[in-house]
């Protein structure tokens, strides 16, 4: 049974068209002119209980808009959304008690009060049983290191501390589903890692279903098993994280540090030099066309070699390729990706 069901979801925003100049400005004040902007264009997917889904796409792709419709604070122009049998925008309050949301751009903590006070308040708002609350506070403080600043007013916290507190706040009531919209934005490497570890743990221990929006591919790789990529409001990929690596990430790079500087080298077919720096060369090849062992054997026979490193393509560069290729990158992977999905 799928927990989240999205069917042909569409969202059009009405945008106020401002005319240029003073006359134009007065004109649009008196007679406003609008145009419609389609932010989400016929998206469909389902998410099962316990699934962890990375939801990515370039800026303005429609991710936040989709998340808002899933949480119920935005009404779709057309299409259906169902969260555990509820229609989020019609039953917002009821839906709200089952979900947790973090919008990384803005904190939902009480600005002037210590973090712990916001937690206390949320306990009452969500009617969290005392025992559950105590356990969660204990666990979250431990894993997210909240202890150092839990008694400090929120306005004094650093971005990373605020974010950690926000994530804890969104999980206090043991939601079934958690929506993260860029919870790692602006954080340093260590803080990001801490949050990923935590998310991974929570997901495993509590079986929380998760939709995770981010621009950091490491987030997705470390915490999600599935990935939905959207662009211009449409789905361009829906499948597992491993699959995308297999399908797109066929290229390997061998970095060779030679004993001396060679201007030109003789390579076996299927391998090309993509970069050169001093005595180092970057050699790219497709992994099923060229055997890495024969390439290395060939090279060591002909040249003196100091060091060799094999580089797998990072998900980062794969995604970049997909974004740059746009919607039509690979049609077989688009459109809800039902066949890719079935496990």
């Amino acid at each position: 049974m799928s927990l989240i069901k999205v069917e042909n979801l569409v969202k059009d925003y009405k945008i106020n068209v401002k005319k240029k100049g003073l006359v134009g400005a007065i004109g649009s004040l008196l007679v406003p002119e609008y145009k419609m902007k389609r932010a989400v264009d016929n998206i469909s997917f389902t998410i099962d209980k316990g699934e962890t889904v990375g939801f990515i796409g370039p800026n303005g792709a429609g991710k936040s808009t989709t998340v808002k419709m899933l949480t119920g604070i935005l009404t779709p122009t057309s299409g259906n959304v169902e969260i555990g049998g509820l229609c989020p925008y019609k039953q917002r309050k009821k839906n709200a008690s089952r979900i947790g949301v973090v919008f990384g751009q803005r904190t939902q903590l009480w600005w002037d009060l210590p973090v712990i006070d916001t937690f206390e308040l949320l306990k009452h708002i969500y009617k969290v049983p005392e025992k559950v609350y105590d356990e969660n506070i204990e666990l979250f403080s431990e894993m997210l290191g909240l202890k150092d600043f839990i008694n400090q007013p929120v306005r004094q916290l650093s971005l990373g501390q605020k974010m950690r507190a926000d994530i804890a706040a969104s999980l206090l009531h043991n939601p079934q589903i958690i929506f993260f919209d860029e919870p790692t934005i602006g954080l340093d490497v260590v803080a990001k890692e801490k949050i990923r570890e935590f998310i991974k743990y929570i997901n495993k221990e509590k079986g929380i279903t998760m939709l995770f929006t981010t621009h950091d591919m490491q987030d997705i790789e470390k915490t999600c098993s599935r990935m939905i990529i959207i662009d211009h409001g449409t789905t361009i990929y829906d499948g597992t994280v491993d699959q995308i690596k297999n399908r797109y990430g066929k290229t390997r790079t061998l970095i060779v540090e030679f004993g001396q500087v060679y201007d030109k080298i003789d390579l076996i077919p299927g391998v090309e030099v993509v970069d050169t720096k001093d005595n180092k060369k970057w050699l790219a090849f497709k992994k099923e066309e060229v055997h890495i062992s024969s390439l290395i054997a060939d090279l060591t026979n002909k040249y003196s070699i100091l060091d060799l490193t094999i580089q797998e393509p990072e998900i980062e560069s794969i995604i970049r390729e997909i974004y740059e290729g746009g919607v039509n990158y690979d049609k077989s992977l688009s459109g809800g990706g039902k066949e890719v999905l079935s496990k």
């Binding site: 604070i73 009480w110 006070d117």
Partner: protein
């Protein structure tokens, strides 16, 4: 669920404590305003015992009551605007609680804070300085208390309409300023309405403004005939209902706009 709103009020109370300067400023402001206004009226009364049929000691009591009430009736004019302009209003709607009751509880928290921490000291100081007329009678005192509560609700519902307009205008500073001026003049906060020209007085009686300060204070001072007290209170109730209804309709429209057009 009540528990959650009590908790909000408590937090707002605590929030008020955080701003210690604000706290002292509130007490001092009230005392100074009472002092200044009584001095002005004293100058007017210099010659005569009675002006416009009203004795000076009644004016003095009126002013003390008015400024003490104004102090505790101060509300958070930019709470909703802040939530709207920062987009946090979306997070507010995502809580399984009523945002309107949340805002109300928040204001009640400040009200209690002001009543306990500011009203008491300001009252003690001013009564010691200027003395105070006792309520006209015990029953009028009871009506006064009821009328004060209703006066607060009239002002609250009026304010709510202004606050909620931030969904359309985003910045409500000018609106709030106009509202404050209107309340200041028309509610009898500064000048008892007895001294207004007859036509203006008749006009004000058709608005919700006299329900805020003038009616409760007049009841306390016995300036409203006993047989008219009941109608005055009913009029207050009616304004609470009418303004509440307008606020409700605007709130529905505001959330509709939010969920259709996005934050």
């Amino acid at each position: 669920m009540i528990r959650a709103y009590l908790e909000v009020a408590k937090k707002s109370f605590q929030n008020n404590i955080t701003y210690r300067m604000d706290y002292f400023a509130g007490v001092i402001n009230t005392i100074v305003m009472i002092f200044v206004n009584i001095s002005i009226w004293k100058a007017i009364y210099e010659e005569e015992e009675v002006v416009g049929g009203v004795q000076f000691k009644i004016i003095m009591a009126y002013l003390v009551l008015s400024f003490l009430l104004q102090n505790i009736f101060t509300m958070e004019d930019y709470l909703i605007e802040g939530r709207v302009t920062t987009g946090l209003i979306s997070s507010d709607l995502l809580k399984p609680m009523s945002f309107r009751l949340y805002v109300f509880s928040y204001n009640i928290g400040s009200l209690v804070f002001k009543a306990v921490m500011q009203l008491l000291p300001a009252m003690i100081v001013t009564v010691a300085l200027f003395g105070m007329l006792p309520p006209f009678s015990a029953s009028m005192f009871i009506y006064f208390l009821i009328s004060v509560v209703l006066g607060y609700l009239v002002l609250y519902n009026l304010n709510f309409i202004i606050w909620i307009s931030s969904f359309w205008f985003y910045f409500t500073f000018s609106l709030v300023t106009i509202k404050d001026a209107a309340v200041m003049i028309l509610s009898g906060a500064l000048i008892p309405l007895w001294f207004m020209p007859q036509w203006l007085y008749e006009f004000i009686k058709l608005t919700p403004f006299d329900s805020i300060f003038f009616v409760p204070i007049s009841i306390y001072l016995g300036q409203i005939p006993a047989e008219e007290v009941f109608t005055s209170i009913i009029k207050q109730v009616a304004w609470v209902a009418v303004l509440g209804l307008v606020g409700h309709i605007l709130w529905k429209a505001a959330t509709k706009k939010l969920v259709v057009q996005g934050g």
